[in-house]
């Protein structure tokens, strides 16, 4: 029997987010590949004026354009962190591939992990268009100099965690990334359109997995509820520290790398997620959660920012494990990459001869 036969087709909030992605996509299409190029060989002042005019017009910066060093650095930092999150994030997800309880769920989970690898590839290449290179970004990740998202440092203890991770953290990722589809940096905006569509699909599959568990046996329902209890905090914390404590926010907003504050995005995520939890028949672990008709938003308890600090500093439950595993995979692959390079070198010599 198709386990999804009686699945609710409607997930409140999901369609609106996708519509925003599509609106951003059609704007990108209308604009064509790039705005006007900067005057070649111009003075720094002219170049800066051109850059600022492009930003002010809400047009796109393209790889050939001159940009201030700070803009480049901010973007590389943000895109690298995103790319690292994609590839390290494969670990908690893939933890259940071999044990997925049906072949269909196994296929869905495997396809999800494959998507994340694809997102990683895509994002590293966007960072490369800004002059970074993948190898050195990976080194920075392996040396602990660049970070990835906090939630990845939590364990997937049960099959329920696979669903809760996808529903809550892929869901939070979509809320975070929808505005990035309108980033001022063209290649990043285009990457985000594709990535958002796939993350939204992951979110839907997580919802579906949890829905099936929630409607299932008492043991399955408990599995789902306990996983949601574990993932709610890390998902809320994904939006980062409160705006007043956020180090990079102001500049990023001015450059239209970022468009909303951490707090605005977190609120949006809560507002979208509460009705979804109701449909799932699961509760969110926050006694203060309540509709506030004056604000037109849900009130909620902010995540534990001290915990977030500890996790970002490297002391979450799985930081060491995740990084060690990432390094181990990279080191194990060293002989393969070296052999591929050696083979290519031999053959380019032969071809030339």
């Amino acid at each position: 029997m198709d386990p999804r036969a009686s699945q609710p087709a409607f997930i409140p909030g999901a369609a609106e987010l996708l519509a925003e992605v599509e609106a951003a996509e059609s704007l990108l299409d209308q604009r064509g590949p790039a705005g006007a190029a900067a005057p070649a060989g111009g003075e720094e002042a002219d170049l800066l004026a051109h850059f600022e005019a492009v930003i002010a017009a809400d047009a796109k910066i393209e790889p050939r354009d001159w940009v201030p060093a700070g803009y480049r650095e901010s973007l590389i930092r943000q895109i690298a962190q995103h790319a690292h999150s994609e590839i390290v994030g494969m670990q908690p997800e893939s933890n259940w591939i071999t044990r997925a309880p049906s072949l269909k769920r196994k296929a869905i989970l495997l396809a999800k992990v494959q998507d994340e690898a694809g997102h990683g590839l895509y994002l590293y290449s966007v960072a490369e268009s800004l002059g970074a290179n993948r190898e050195s970004l990976l080194t920075a990740l392996h040396d602990g100099k660049q970070k990835y998202l906090n939630f990845i440092n939590y364990p997937t203890l049960t099959w329920g965690d696979v669903g809760a991770l996808a529903w809550l953290t892929d869901g939070a990722a979509v809320v975070n990334q929808v505005p990035l589809c309108r980033s001022s940096y063209g290649p990043y905006a285009r990457a985000m359109v594709r990535v958002c569509k796939e993350e939204s699909f992951h979110h839907r599959q997580g919802f579906d997995l949890l829905w099936t568990l929630s409607q299932g046996s008492p043991a399955q329902h408990t599995m789902a509820q306990e996983a949601v209890n574990r993932w709610w905090g890390p998902a809320l914390a994904m939006f980062g520290p409160p705006h007043r404590d956020s180090t990079h926010s102001e500049k990023s907003m001015a450059w239209r790398i970022k468009r909303f504050t951490n707090d605005e995005l977190r609120q949006r995520f809560v507002d979208i997620t509460v009705p979804q939890a109701e449909i799932l028949g699961l509760t969110l672990p926050d006694p203060a959660l309540a509709w506030n008709s004056e604000r037109g938003h849900y009130d909620f308890t902010p995540p534990d920012y001290e915990e977030l600090k500890r996790v970002v500093a490297g002391n979450g439950p799985c930081n060491r494990q995740r990084l060690a595993r990432r390094r181990q995979a990279h080191e194990q692959g060293e002989w393969v990459r070296a052999a591929a390079a050696a083979h290519a070198a031999k053959h380019s010599r032969e071809d030339a001869a």
Binding site: P3, P101, A219, G333
Partner: protein, 245 residues
């Protein structure tokens, strides 16, 4: 019920399932990100083949068993996959050599079955043959690159070839099930050698001598690795009786 057809299709389905389970376990372990995408892609193809074949075997059997009952509720000795596909992925060389040997076999067998009388099986085979042709070209490219790469890669590849070669004989060992339905792969060994030997030669690897030829998988007698593979795959499913996922 056509018992011969059930047993025949189960063998194909079990091969694909076990190969998929092994390949899927490599997610996040690939030597580079592009390869993580490629290996997941191959695992997804194999899993798709397994699902179609097991579903069909269940239909032929007519006892109400679907793909999941066949994958999750049979014991080790009821699986009739070849010993080759359950061999562990000790390194990337083992993964690629196993894929080379297995995909060359699958390509030849699916090609024959796609022209066979059983229309359902022919349709599954016709779709799958395109997938395994890609797996084969992927494995060939890596075999040549790694065989003719560095000293270390050559040593690792030769080790993998030597260790896995004996298990290829079972793929072509004829018996009453193979003779009783579809196409008997016994006749494919020569053509299989015609694919594999030139690749090994181009990779500057030695083709091992034919001596030890372990069998047993087709009768449900597996290697010690298999119990762990099946135990892990079935653990969650078996812990919950009569539920859907």
């Amino acid at each position: 019920m056509n018992e011969k057809a059930v047993a025949y299709v189960l063998r194909l389905g079990d091969d694909a399932l076990v190969a998929a389970q092994r390949m899927a376990a490599l997610a996040t372990w690939a030597p580079q990100l592009e390869e993580d995408v490629a290996l997941a892609n191959i695992a997804l193809d194999l899993l798709g083949q397994a699902r179609a074949l097991l579903t069909y075997a269940g239909e032929l059997e007519g006892q109400g068993r679907d793909e999941d009952l066949l994958a999750y509720r049979r014991d080790e000795h009821e699986f009739t996959s070849a010993l080759l596909v359950e061999q562990p992925d000790t390194d990337f060389a083992a993964t690629m050599v196993k894929l080379l040997f297995f995909s060359a076999y699958q390509r030849l067998l699916y090609e024959e079955l796609s022209a066979g009388d059983d229309e359902t099986l022919a349709a599954i085979a016709a779709k799958s043959v395109k997938e395994v042709a890609y797996h084969l070209s992927h494995a060939c490219a890596w075999t040549v690159r790694l065989g003719d790469g560095t000293e270390e890669s050559k040593r690792r590849m030769q080790t993998a070839v030597d260790e896995l070669w004996p298990y290829t004989h079972e793929l072509f060992a004829s018996d009453s099930v193979w003779r009783g339905y579809g196409f008997d792969p016994a006749g494919l060994r020569e053509r299989w050698l015609g694919i594999v030997e030139p690749v090994l030669a181009e990779a500057t690897l030695e083709r091992p001598v034919d001596d030890w030829a372990p069998t047993g998988g087709r009768d449900g007698l597996h290697t010690e690795h298999f119990g762990y593979l099946v135990g892990e795959m079935q653990s969650l499913h078996r812990a919950h009786e009569g539920v859907s996922w």
